[in-house]
Subunit: 318 residues, 2 copies
């Protein structure tokens, strides 16, 4: 038997047929064309699943269930996408609508939680029973799994760990608050600070790398320049690590999970990120190094975490 995972993104709909161990056996994607009404978007999700089943030489009888990871507030109990700003979804009966195309049990979840569940089932968290996943991308996303259960919030809008204020009256966040962790630890924030420092320091190596065009700045450049000995870039990275460590020690003090898995663009830095981060965190952990039991790891599934986690959502309903 197989299950199918659907990762509904703002740009693309990704779908994968997954075996019982969480391995992808067939993948596909179509553009979301997100300005369309929900019924057309869900129809494309359904049709893509149906065509992948055919291509793989299967029938719907081989598919045990479908899971859908969606941005926004996903009512996992009732299969309803309560709210999503970017897709303009409000109280969309996602599971029921999808079943028009493939009539199997359908489970839904918030995309960040679903991706965390993917890492938990068959990625960096596979050997742990409690995991927090933190995505360092456009924003800072969070997904929390304790004893096999996803912490979704009583009204399905919890685990918004990027929107923990860590600096009262600090940087303005897209959520309307000031000083959210996301405004310091997202890739967006790192790029913002790198641009600021490059502008203020014409001699910084970062200016050579971007060839004078600030639009070329990305989250990799300050790390690369710092490694090559550029002190200005080093300052940008040190400051980024400082805030990231503060937010992660908050996560430890809140959940004290067995493992925190870091994903998103910045996590591509791997040991260049993890090593200084561990040093900074050890200084912040109550009781110091000895009391610091939570492991810090880099995500292993990349973009596949979403479809794999979605395909495994049935496990939460068994």
């Amino acid at each position: 038997m197989f299950t199918i995972g659907v990762d509904l993104g703002g740009t693309n709909i990704a779908v994968a047929i997954v075996d019982e161990k969480g391995n992808i056996v067939k993948k596909g994607s179509v553009p979301t064309l997100s300005s369309r009404s929900y019924d057309l978007i869900i129809k494309d999700m359904g049709m893509l699943c149906v065509s992948l089943i055919e291509v793989e030489g299967l029938t719907s009888a081989d598919i045990e269930s479908v899971g859908i990871g969606s941005p926004g507030i996903a009512d996992s109990k009732n299969g309803i996408l309560v709210y999503n700003n970017n897709l303009n979804f409000k109280d969309v009966p996602m599971a029921a609508e999808f079943q028009k195309y493939l009539n199997v049990p359908v489970y839904i979840g918030n995309d960040a939680n679903v991706a965390a569940y993917g890492e938990y089932i068959s990625g960096a968290g596979a050997i742990y029973s409690d995991l927090v996943a933190i995505t360092l991308g456009t924003g800072v996303g969070g997904g929390v799994i304790i004893g096999g259960n996803v912490i979704e919030g009583s009204f399905f809008a919890g685990a918004e760990l990027g929107h923990i204020v860590i600096s009262v009256d600090g940087e303005l966040c897209t959520c309307g608050r000031h000083g959210c962790w996301e405004t310091y630890s997202s890739a967006t924030a790192l790029i913002r600070e790198a641009k600021k420092s490059a502008l203020a320091n014409p001699d910084s190596m970062m200016n050579q790398i971007i060839q004078g065009d600030m639009d070329n700045m990305n989250a990799k450049i300050p790390f690369d320049a710092a490694q090559a000995g550029d002190a200005v870039a080093g300052g940008v990275v040190d400051s980024y690590i400082k805030y990231l460590a503060i937010g992660l020690v908050n996560v430890v003090n809140i959940f004290q999970p067995e493992v925190i898995v870091l994903g998103g663009g910045v996590s591509a830095q791997k040991e260049n990120l993890i090593q200084p981060l561990l040093v900074a965190m050890e200084h912040e952990i109550y009781g110091g190094k000895e009391a610091f039991k939570t492991k810090i790891k880099v995500a292993e599934l990349g973009n596949d975490a979403g479809v794999i986690g979605a395909a495994m959502l049935h496990k939460l309903h068994e």
Copy 2:
């Protein structure tokens, strides 16, 4: 059948025999004399339980289990008090030691988590399935119950919600970090700020109330003076509410529980605290007032939350 709850405090050991509905049928207490070795302290806990059973005309056969709430890191799986600074406990086999005096099943838990569980079972959280309890006392304590389970952390040191940094490089905390929520929202912090403002403003009504002696300052005085129209005290209260609201919206963004229950000394202000707090929180909640679904309530059990929660710990192991 009855159960017994033990609340091990730094000053007193409180014990209660509790019925199946969570009602206290008999209470007692003895001094902790916390500088003693753990075997003597646990002996006093045991002997007090035995004597209360006798006084109530019961026998040990009427006692289904005992629960113990202790400060520090409590390994609830193995009944071991892993670490407590104030009592100088390290890897104390608390359950086994206690059973020398009363040989029934013994469950242990961290005192803040246990008190939260008391409010959950028969206090302000009784009608909810997810609850976060926040204690505004000497520090800021946290207890989290999701779907009937206490979030303890994988190594039993989680839910330290007072040690979420909300102000990078802010006030020094007893935990060694800077800017922990506790350093702004504890009763201790409120008293610190009230003293500062009273000193800087000799005309403030707070100075009349304390009769010139800063040692008379307490968490009630700034609220009382503010209500009587003192602008300086009003500023202290407004600032306190601001930081408290930021921390509580963090809690909503993390757990989005059905209810947050506020306990500890400052919660005695009840509606004087809750009303301005709700206004401040509405401004911080993503999506505003409409999206603000978590109820904010004042704790109902007072000091009894500890013994009642402890007596009910068996429910977590059923």
